[in-house]
């Protein structure tokens, strides 16, 4: 690799002057600068970041450890948001996917710390609790889309409860009085919070909470394997007093609900209104009518996380990031 000394030799000048040119030091004669720049061009010289880093102790790297953010058909926006802000700061992301594996987490951490990362984002592909190794705290850290009970780390989470409220209120505002809720797996954090939002929205509207209207969708796991809203819909349709609107726990459920209702002669957008969560771009815009859904705020969480890393704000608390409402047509009837 061509070094600063090679350039110096080629330009017939001391290597320190080349350094000055590279760093835009004004104390270089115009003539000399031109000569150096040409040599740089000719030799295709690039400063060596490792050497620079040894001097100024700044790696310019932010670690991004994720369980499976990248693998999943969503959540990648978390990375994107993080990268956007990092780039604005002149920093780069070093991404490691660890797949729920404690050993790999340790390896990743070692590797990143050896590289003297200036900050660390720990992100999960779905909202859940995680355990963070103490070592992580030796560097400015943030949790995104996950939280830890023990460690005092700044945390950015989607505001599930607010989203639950919004998704429900949208239907309330259309005059619906019997609004069902198809929940996610009970052990997922989002489930309880969104349901709480649903309750609150009903209460605010002066509507009674009817436990019969809350049914669980099958959600075998979060690994992309099939999930099903079939039994949920079946239960709802057997009620004496059927719902006129449904809040679906996720867009995959919503997609299935569109189908399932047809079996009962009901059409979304005509006979029954629907809202949902996630705004999966493969699904929501492609249904007819378009699915009104609360978009996961992955992008914004990613941004907020990195922004926080180097902000003067030393807050170690939790910040709730709102779900943007993506309004299509499924929450309306007879449009």
């Amino acid at each position: 690799m061509v070094s600063i000394k090679d350039v110096a030799k080629h330009a017939g000048i001391s290597f320190k002057t080349v350094s000055r040119v590279v760093n835009n030091d004004p104390a270089v004669r115009q003539e000399t600068r031109a000569k150096v720049l040409q040599s740089i061009e000719v030799l295709n010289y690039r400063p060596n970041r490792a050497a620079r880093m040894m001097r100024n102790q700044r790696s310019g790297v932010i670690g991004f450890i994720s369980d499976e953010v990248v693998t999943r058909p969503y959540a990648g926006e978390l990375l994107l948001g993080a990268q956007e802000i990092a780039n604005q700061q002149g920093r780069v992301l070093m991404v490691v996917n660890i797949e729920q594996d404690r050993r790999r987490l340790q390896q990743a951490l070692d590797m990143l710390l050896e590289r003297r990362i200036e900050g660390l984002v720990f992100a999960s592909y779905f909202h859940r609790e995680v355990e963070v190794p103490e070592e992580m705290l030796s560097v400015p850290s943030v949790l995104a889309n996950c939280f830890s009970r023990n460690a005092g780390v700044a945390t950015f989470l989607p505001d599930e409860c607010q989203a639950g409220q919004d998704a429900t209120r949208l239907l309330v505002e259309q005059g619906h009085q019997r609004i069902a809720f198809i929940t996610l797996h009970p052990e997922i954090v989002a489930t309880g919070l969104r349901l709480e939002g649903y309750r609150q929205a009903l209460q605010q509207a002066g509507l009674a909470f009817d436990p019969q209207l809350v049914v669980q969708g099958e959600c075998l796991n979060e690994a992309g394997e099939p999930s099903s809203a079939a039994s949920a819909i079946e239960t709802l349709m057997q009620l004496d007093h059927r719902p006129t609107a449904i809040v679906c726990g996720k867009d995959e459920f919503a997609m299935q609900v569109y189908f399932l209702l047809l079996r009962y002669g009901l059409q979304v957008g005509v006979d029954i209104a629907i809202t949902s969560f996630d705004n999966q771009l493969l699904i929501a815009p492609n249904l007819t009518p378009g699915l009104t859904t609360m978009a996961l705020p992955h992008l914004e969480m990613g941004r907020a996380a990195v922004r926080h890393l180097f902000s003067s704000d030393a807050d170690r608390g939790t910040t709730l990031v709102p779900f943007p409402l993506i309004e299509r047509e499924s929450h309306l009837l007879n449009p």
Copy 2:
């Protein structure tokens, strides 16, 4: 930051010996080694990669430049496959998303070259032609899921034609004789190749190619905005002699086709058979019947790309990576 010299001082020994311990040099007395290890533990010492790198000239970093691989609800597996192999090699990925922006591409390249990457993967989120800057060739490079006419770079592409054949043959084998094909946007590379596979499969089966059965789905763009198979299905249903099976250009189309056919009283899996492409996990397993589809080989392309980077195999040619067949039920009738 604690350096090797701090450890040496703490252990009351020369820093060179610490280096030996860190590098598992056997020429250290057991007793000394223990002492050093303890000091390392106490001080929480970590070797500085930048300094190491200056000596051995190896960064251990592979650049991964992508247009939008991470942003998309699929394609992330490309990154995952790349990371998997990189990790096996003891290397790390440095990921940069450039969003089709030439300026950002240049920036990314500069940044990666300054960091002395040992190899570079250039990946696209959909199969297309790209322009690679010459500078890229100054480092071992690979193209994944994209190709370049001008540059002689090793290239890994999905075998669209084979996939088209497979998706079609599956239906032929079920005895279908009128098999329709809903194409993607005509300007996308995959469109022509998959169609060619469809033709070949028909020919091999001795079936006539009927241009009336090839219809274009609306595919406004690749940005996740809505696409539609509505007009395609309408066209097909107006034919005197309707198809009994359909190959859908992508799973989003397939999802819509399930709906659209219901308007004509046709049910997938009962009246009409379907295959598709992509294996979108949000869609394919969640339809009823489950969608039989050719999975995009992103994971394998990512693996192959990185594997090639440091293989002795200096082949600069193009490798076609097969689509795995994901067999569910939609290609069968009356299951």
